[in-house]
Amino acid sequence: MADSTSALALDKPRSPRRPAARRNNFELYSWVFMRISGLALVVLVLGHLFIMNILDGGVHRINFAFVAGRWSSPFWQFWDLSMLWLAQLHGGNGLRTIIDDYARKDNTRFWLKMLLYVAMAVILVLGTLVVFTFDPDIPAS
């Protein structure tokens, strides 16, 4: 039954089966990034939720003028931009880890990751574009 595979395994029993270490710090940096971005997001997201949902009547006062007013200030532009980038990269890296854990085939893993990276790129580019090029004077028509 298992004879054919065990015969192969005995071929070179002590030969290393792992590829040599890649000697880069990507996993280390992504680990550190998750911690730091997580801390920053606690402040950014909770602050965002507080302003949007609780302060001054909360969600009922949000309209086009409200958003336009906020984005006229570089501070809120920076706030929203950093929230966008940190949340995307933080969530994207988390999903990358989950895909690495749970995908069973290399093929599945590759395509799921590609889907993830494309989705991240689209949202990041689109969001950044809106934050920087937002024009409050849209013609009414």
Binding site: P16, R17, R18, A21, R22, R23, E27, L28, S30, D101
Partner: protein, 259 residues
């Protein structure tokens, strides 16, 4: 783990029942690769003393009921680390778990479930292929690396330096920790807690000069950064090693380039 009807009632009358013994049900995950397509559960009602170890029950089943029951066991005293298995869902050494700690509440029938450790291929019954486990162990170079001339006398080490890695010297390579790790279950290429513990034992040894090599290996994609600190390994360790702490210490050494 589908509920398959336990077909046969096993005749366990041959097992000697000493005075003071009670009957417990031992539910074992059986798998014979020559007959079965997949593992199934079989139950044995066996006499047991509260002071018996789970290993005694397995030995009785093997000796008196079904000689084909396969499991590893060597010293039977918690030293060799052969008989790691899932007992009531938790990785334990069968020779270190006493029946009295598994007894059900008064009047209820005690059932002890025994399954092979997860994450390693089951070859027969409770017997798994340990090769992937030892492959990861060998990959971290678990031996003293020292350069330069051989010293003419003993390599001296202070008590404090010895204390630094004392916890991780206790490892008996039973695979309880590695096979309790969800990351290891999901993708077998992760080094696993046991390999990291044994790397830790040499990384933090003041006599050893191979720390950088080992840290490089553990800094890789399959290394310590895959640890999610679920603490399953620390809970599983029959030697009480603070496994998760050891992994975090390796992470810290990598982070601050300091051993």
């Amino acid at each position: 783990m589908t509920a398959v009807a336990e077909s046969t009632v096993h005749d366990t009358s041959q097992i000697p029942a000493p005075e003071g013994s009670l009957t417990v049900t031992v539910k074992i995950q059986r798998f014979n690769p020559e007959i079965d397509d997949e593992p199934h559960w079989e139950s044995y009602d066996v006499p047991a003393l509260p002071t018996d170890r789970v290993l005694n029950l397995l030995m009785n089943i093997k000796n008196y009921v079904d000689g084909t029951l396969s499991f590893r066991r060597s010293c039977a005293h918690g030293i060799c680390g052969s008989d790691a298995m899932q007992i009531n869902g938790i990785n334990r050494l069968a020779c270190k778990v006493l029946v009295k700690d598994l007894l059900a509440k008064k009047g209820k029938q005690t059932t002890i479930t025994v399954a092979p450790i997860k994450g390693l291929p089951t070859m027969k019954d409770l017997y798994v292929d340990m090769e992937p486990f030892f492959e990861a162990y060998r990959a971290v170079k678990p031996y003293l690396i020292a350069y330069g001339n051989e010293p003419t006398r003993e390599r001296i080490q202070s008590a404090a330096d010895r204390e630094r890695f004392d916890d991780t010297t206790k490892c008996i390579l039973c695979a309880c920790c590695t096979s309790s790790c969800p990351v290891y279950w999901a993708d077998g290429s992760y080094f696993g807690p046991a390999a990291i513990v044994n790397a830790h034992r040499f990384i933090f040894d003041s006599r050893d000069e191979g720390a950088e090599e080992r840290l490089d290996i553990l800094n890789d994609a399959e290394g310590v950064w895959r640890c999610r600190t679920t603490f399953n390994c620390t809970d599983a360790c029959p030697r009480g090693i603070q496994v998760t702490k050891a992994i975090q210490e390796v992470k810290r050494a990598l982070l601050f380039k300091r051993v």
